[in-house]
Symmetry: C2
Subunit: 346 residues, 2 copies
DNA sequence: ACACAGGGCTAAATCGATTGAGCGTTTTTT
DNA sequence: AAAAAACGCTCAATCGATTTAGCCCTGTGT
């Protein structure tokens, strides 16, 4: 039950393993192997359904045809969807994907990197956590292609694919203002990473532009590692004490917790509390009222990530590719203040 | 920037690579290596932060410490959550996970298996598609541990971890009946695989038990590969023509499409059309009205899968472990017919 | 007729770890 | 005191593919 090896082919063709290797790697011309022999080898390889042993090849070449995908949470809608696109795209290039979730925990992230390193993945797709600068630089040093996603590290010159978080938050917040909301709060994560900072900045800039003073008490930052109950509890407290009439939730899971919290207070989404969340989700689309959100172009994010990575794997480019894709503001009912909020199904 | 190898340690310790290998593999005693040398080697290995090259090791031993995870759709809530638990659990045993989605397409599944095979994964977690009997048997033949999930193949004796689909559907349907619904339909997939068959059977048995005749026109089967729009279109058509007063949706995505469809018709979920879906989802929990569903114990599913696989990897057992976990019926508002359906937030 | 240039292919080293066989020394057995 | 066993460790082959160096042969130029 062993696999077919290059030796088996060599034996059948009456040539050396070397020749077989040359032919199967498309170096027949370059290595001046005759067409006769070439064809014969190809035919036999086909007949035996030869598949190169990736371990052996990897051992020799250092290439494993494997990518490492480090996300914040593979169970999260956004990351799971990206993971799917990434898998699909990677597959087109003959790559497989090893994945792992950081839970936004730097130690876990470092552990993952460690494992992926000694598993010798060829390239990395990383949702970086705090203080990962050194690790990323190290990967650059050893010439391992890296593409950051969802966020990047301001002090590290690297490839990345993100969305325009500032713009997304700005539009979302502006929308809240133009819809007539006055006391607009933001609920975000403890993270002081760039994507959150930008969402915060976009939020603040939108308020400023519309002449609304930025009120620090209307800001709430919650740690990722808190559980659902604690999250909703905190959000409820926030809503009660601030009496905000609209909230911008800076990630999808905060949006979900937020909906839960607002409803548990008996407040009407839209009419009593305007809601916008970052990221789209089936829940946002189908909720009553439906939830306005900043939607990320997931397909394109995934495609571009792999795209950049493949370019690097083929021949490292001198300059970093830094793609900032445009998010879309999905206008829905959760930001309608005026009309009373009649559920669709009534 | 090369990694530390066993040779480097050997050199520093002034012993042969063989000795180092023995010590690092815990065979010091068995191979009668002195404590002195053992400790020295261990110390050096630690100092140099030696990490074995998995490729080399795999090439020699045939073990890659990698698992293959084949799911229907990694972007699907259920599978993504299982994937996360699987990754966590596998990690505890030093295993990494390669994943892939079948899209319920046998050819894609076969392709994935093929790739995983020549990547020499040590064990397989498979959500089988139609007609995969031969492939699974083949894996058994070559003594590769396999655990099926979500569904199993009736004609193949293999390990699996599933939920009691019959029971779940039975309870869900019984619940609909006792809530006063009379014309109960089921929307399921084209798949004639066991999990769907059992859900169908559980559905039918519940009707029968309550003296409701099974009406074939109240059954709708939709192909996985259809897109969202086509799905909702079909469901709308079904609802219009059958005038069903309740529907059991056999999977989470069908439930989601179903909610969309019912609402687009202006019908009230619960009051006009009772709804139960298989699988839980944030959307079901937070929808207005909230959606009654059959919830699968995801944590335990993931844990057991890895558990069974690890047992196999250590020493193949003679008998197949076939775990059927109990799902939970989450009672929510979508199956309340009597009271008019007031959204929570009103 | 002799050097030289391809042409067509192969031997052997290599990647890093594992492992069966075995070698010299000391200790125990009888 | 000779034989057997126990010690403590190493040699070299092996996994499968890649790759460098180079061998032998034929044909060309001078």
């Amino acid at each position: 039950m062993k696999g077919i090896s290059i030796k088996d082919i060599a034996k059948q063709a009456g040539v050396s393993p070397t020749t077989v290797s040359f032919v199967l790697n498309g170096k027949a011309k370059e290595k001046r192997i005759s067409d006769q022999v070439s064809k014969k080898i190809l035919k036999i390889a086909n007949k035996l359904k030869y598949k190169p042993n990736q371990l052996a090849r990897g051992l020799r070449t250092g290439k494993t045809k494997t990518l490492g995908l480090i996300v914040e949470d593979i169970a999260n809608n956004f990351f799971a969807n990206v993971a799917k696109v990434v898998e699909d795209e990677a597959d087109k290039h003959g790559y497989k994907v090893l994945y792992g979730s950081t839970e936004d925990n730097s130690d876990k992230a470092r552990g993952l990197l460690e494992v992926l390193k000694y598993r010798q993945v060829d390239g990395y797709i990383i949702t970086p956590t705090k203080n990962m600068e050194k690790e990323i630089e190290l990967l650059k040093m050893v010439r391992k292609p890296v593409v950051l996603m969802d966020r990047y590290l301001p002090n590290v010159d690297s490839h990345y694919v993100v969305v325009d978080n500032y713009q997304g938050a700005f539009e979302a917040t502006s929308h809240l203002v133009t819809q007539g909301y006055k006391k607009i709060g933001i609920i975000t994560t403890m993270s002081d990473q760039v994507q959150m900072k930008q969402r915060m900045d976009g939020f603040a800039a939108a308020l400023k532009k519309h002449g609304i003073p930025f009120n620090k008490t209307l800001t709430k930052r919650l740690p990722f590692e808190m559980d659902r109950a604690a999250h909703t509890q905190e959000i409820v407290k926030f809503l009660k004490t601030t009496k905000a009439d609209a909230v911008f939730f800076a990630t999808n899971y905060l949006g979900i917790y937020g909906i839960e919290s607002i409803r548990s207070l008996g407040l009407r989404i839209g009419a009593d509390v305007g809601v916008v969340s970052f990221d789209d989700h089936d829940l946002f689309r189908l909720h009553s009222p439906s939830i306005t959100c900043v939607s990320q172009p997931i397909e394109e994010i995934g495609r571009q990530i792999v795209n950049v990575l493949m370019k690097e794997l083929n021949h490292a480019s001198a300059t970093s590719q830094q793609l900032v894709l445009k998010p879309t503001l999905e206008l829905r009912q959760s930001t309608i203040k005026e009309t009373s909020n009649v559920p669709q199904q009534a």
